[in-house]
Subunit: 229 residues, 4 copies
DNA sequence: GATGAATGAGAATTCATTCAT
DNA sequence: CATGAATGAATTCTCATTCAT
């Protein structure tokens, strides 16, 4: 299983001297474009067929490559998945940020923080509700649990992206007068509630209780806001 | 083409006449013992290697069998996983039930319901906190998401066991004066909070916020109880 | 594949001294009854599921035995099939004989031979038309071609039974004035025509020509009779 | 669950632009050569060991490949068998066609049709007489009876090839003044007679009657021609 | 005579990965 | 950079057969 990684994948190549010569730059751009293309194929395969169906062969076929060719861009299948996850977290962050801005602009001053918090929490929830495969992606790399093909650095990168999606919520809580420790605790609770509900939703377990994930999540957020008011 | 597929696995053998003849009893016990042995091997393989590593071959090897031999005890690999999950849920239920009894005995009358609720919710949480692979087990069979090899009947059985572990909490909420819909909603919220925190905990994501899953869960439950008081 | 046959199957056991002692006789009868029971199960399995489905396990299950038990009665799976074929040929012979008798009784003297021939040829054809699996049986043991599990003696036995089914036709031809060599040739031609049509019929190949096996066979027989008249 | 099953086997690759570029041509040729090599191995295995013995493993071993490698050339084991059968029918057709041409050239005008018929019928018979395993091939794929792994389209293709081998005989009968229905019936009878005799021959059953398949078949054809004259 | 347990070989198929070209 | 070919190990599952009890 381990085997020494045979060949440095392009993304890990040192960028060379800072006074980047234009040729190398052009090449890097080309390479990035092709990596993107492969990731698009991988995402499509993963979303349509699930993990089992998203084999290297399938990804390669969709990207218009032969399987071997992918190894010029990624060192292994795992690395592709990891890149997919990174990009998923970027989309998450973008959706949460957009929600915040919108709320901030449209809302009168005193209630801004509360509205922001609500909007962002709901945007976070909505992202995974509407893109359940992105949730899968996050879990896959942990084998449901512990990291699989994640190097520690990669793991940290991914963590940072995730954290930056939740930071605005935490800041809103502080703006609403909560001491920082409480703000952190409540943010984490919101995160956990979202994750829990999304999973119950997706596994169908929530039907056991004839409940609706969305309204339960709103209940959680609104209850919190009510207590703060 | 048809073949009689689903071979009867030993556990489904008719129990025979009520005045159980000792020979059959002994045989059933032996068979059960060997099923147990196989399940132990499967659990160990699963816990150590994850779902992918817990192949029939691996399970057989650990149980000291050839792969084919397992088919005398389980009709398929999926049936083994299902048995594993079923047994896990039994242990969960037992732990929750025990917690309830203990609380009931040790607490004065009026606060019984609240104490029960707290004890049971915490027992539920503790079970998965202390046996993280049992959580995995539940999720694995859903491929992170949707069921894999679980037949609908099996799925229902497992759902029923899960539900019966959470029912006491719901009943306690009713005993505390909540209308049934609210009781159900809060029970589901507790369940979701537990699942979310456990996952954050296990994936290490909770460290992002320097939080502790256990105290956050207690915070959730205690907050609820405070609002009810 | 070959392995030295481990244990003489009961059917091969020497019958003992001619002055058969009654106990052994009783035992032999019992054994024959049980062999019959197993063959019934085998036939049912073969007819319902085809060769692939008629595994030893399936046969044993239908006979109410465990797989190992069959080895007390037959030395191998092949031997079961061979016994099945023998019994099939007996039924064939019986059907042809019955047709002859019937025709003989119901028909006036001069045309007896012709009527007999026709009736017997058609009975031969009808047997396999109505019991296509019996035709399969015959071919299986030849792997489409050459014998599989057939010992030479067994093969001779089976040949004798087959021949005795066709002998009446040959005799009728002689009675109709044909020299023996011609009678033999025509009998063989009838046999071949039957086999060919039956196979074309069963494999669906005859539909290629939008023809009907039964009427083509009658055409063959009637054409022959016309030429003899 | 779905996965894109039927992987395109090389033979289905689009032929590219009509002005075939030489590289692709060379590649196709190479691929065809290797498919041929595999088919040779398959044929050998089939002829020596029968269908049961001609497993993918065995074919691969004989072709000097690992089992997995075959899947680059054929989508499944069944596809290999089908290709084998298709190629057998092509050889049959070629042999029958050749016989026709020869007869046409060498024979005076009025008797052309009769000579053609005779030559073609005998060529059909001779093909299978001389290549008995090719007869097996046709029957094997029907499990002695009904099709095994043949898709309906494949089955139709094969039927068409078979039919085109027999069409000339039918046409000759029409040329000899027979109405079409009679021509079809007699062609089918010839086909059936050939198949029946070939099988009796190959299984050794014909020795029962001390007959010779070849002369019996000629007898059938010549008898027919005599009646038409 | 029969059972239950197990073996061991074999089935088709899939896959990530390697590597010469 | 990309291909096409191939490997080799893995997958689940089925089966005839053996044999101690």
């Amino acid at each position: 299983m381990e085997k020494s990684t045979r060949k440095a994948s392009r993304s890990e190549v040192a960028p060379g001297p800072p006074g980047d010569d234009p040729r190398r730059l052009r090449e890097n751009t080309l390479i990035e474009a092709r990596r993107s293309l492969i990731l698009d194929a991988a995402r499509a395969a993963f979303f349509e067929l699930g993990l089992e169906g998203a084999s290297l062969r399938e990804i390669a076929k969709r990207a218009g490559y032969t399987p071997g060719a992918l190894y010029s861009y990624f060192a292994s299948r795992e690395e592709i998945y990891a890149a997919l996850l990174g990009e998923s977290l970027d989309r998450l962050k973008h959706q949460v940020d957009t929600a915040a801005t919108t709320a901030a602009i449209e809302t009168a001053a005193p209630a801004i923080a509360a509205a922001n918090l609500r909007a962002q929490a709901l945007a976070f929830f909505a992202f995974y509700r509407d893109n359940p495969r992105d949730l899968d992606l996050g879990f896959y790399l942990f084998n449901g649990t512990r990291p699989r093909g994640l190097t520690p650095e990669l793991n940290q990168q991914l963590n940072a992206r995730l954290k930056s999606s939740l930071l605005p919520i935490q800041q809103a809580l502080i703006a609403l007068g909560q001491p920082e420790p409480t703000a952190i605790a409540e943010t984490t609770a919101i995160f956990a509630q979202a994750v829990g509900l999304l999973i119950l939703n997706q596994t169908g377990r929530i039907r056991l209780f004839r409940q609706d994930a969305q309204s339960l999540f709103e209940r959680h957020v609104d209850g919190l806001l009510a207590r703060l008011a």
